[in-house]
């Protein structure tokens, strides 16, 4: 199972990235778990300073952008 992690304090763009990630994962038929990480200390453990960020199994794939579902598909396949 892939762990799709949304890093961000919970602003509207963070929520949009989470929603788009879910759309992308479902479209791909992935076996996944979506995890929202909102605690700043936890976010910084990823080395992330700009949010929202998307990580897959702990590896940051994008930071500071709200990606579209199509863009996300390329990163989580």
């Amino acid at each position: 199972m892939k762990k799709l992690q949304i890093l961000g304090p919970g602003c509207p763009k963070c929520k949009m990235l989470a929603a788009n990630t879910e759309v992308a994962a479902k479209a791909l038929g992935l076996d996944y778990e979506l995890v929202k990480i909102t605690d700043i200390t936890e976010i910084m453990k990823f080395g992330v300073m700009i949010t929202p960020a998307l990580a897959v199994d702990g590896v940051v794939k994008s930071a500071g952008k709200v990606l579209s579902p199509d863009e996300i598909k390329k990163l989580i396949q």
Partner: protein, 130 residues
């Protein structure tokens, strides 16, 4: 404690700007560090880890790629920061070099507020020219 991360909702002027300072031990390195921290406090960008990029930490390299602008403040013409970014092939980078401001590189001398202010001013000019 204030939020040390920058959400894209409230980033400086709508852009994700990452700031990097020379990490050497000379006076010009100290000025670069002070300037980057001052710029961060003023909301001009988020200070980030030049050593992390030098060490090829994947999560950090990814953020540098995704940033709108990476502003690298090198201390001297050795240009360690510039070389790190060039090695990663990143193009979204602006460079400032402290010694280009007529400040001589020295060891073991205290830096002055006016010198730091000069570096900050050059960085602001660079960012405003984008």
């Amino acid at each position: 404690m204030s939020d040390p991360t920058s959400c894209c909702c409230s980033g400086p002027a709508g852009k994700n700007i990452l700031l990097y300072a020379c990490s050497g031990g000379s006076n010009v390195a100290e000025m670069a560090d002070h300037a980057a921290r001052q710029l961060m406090r003023e909301g001009r960008g988020i200070m980030f880890c030049l050593a992390g990029l030098g060490a090829d930490i994947p999560n950090m390299v990814q953020q540098a790629k995704d940033a709108d602008v990476n502003l690298v403040i090198d201390g001297c013409p050795i240009d360690c920061g510039r070389k790190i970014f060039e090695r990663h092939g990143l193009k979204n980078v602006q460079y400032v070099r402290v010694t280009d401001l007529g400040i001589e590189k020295k060891k073991g001398v205290p830096v002055s507020e006016s010198e730091i202010a000069a570096v900050v001013a050059r960085c602001k000019e660079t960012l405003c020219s984008l």
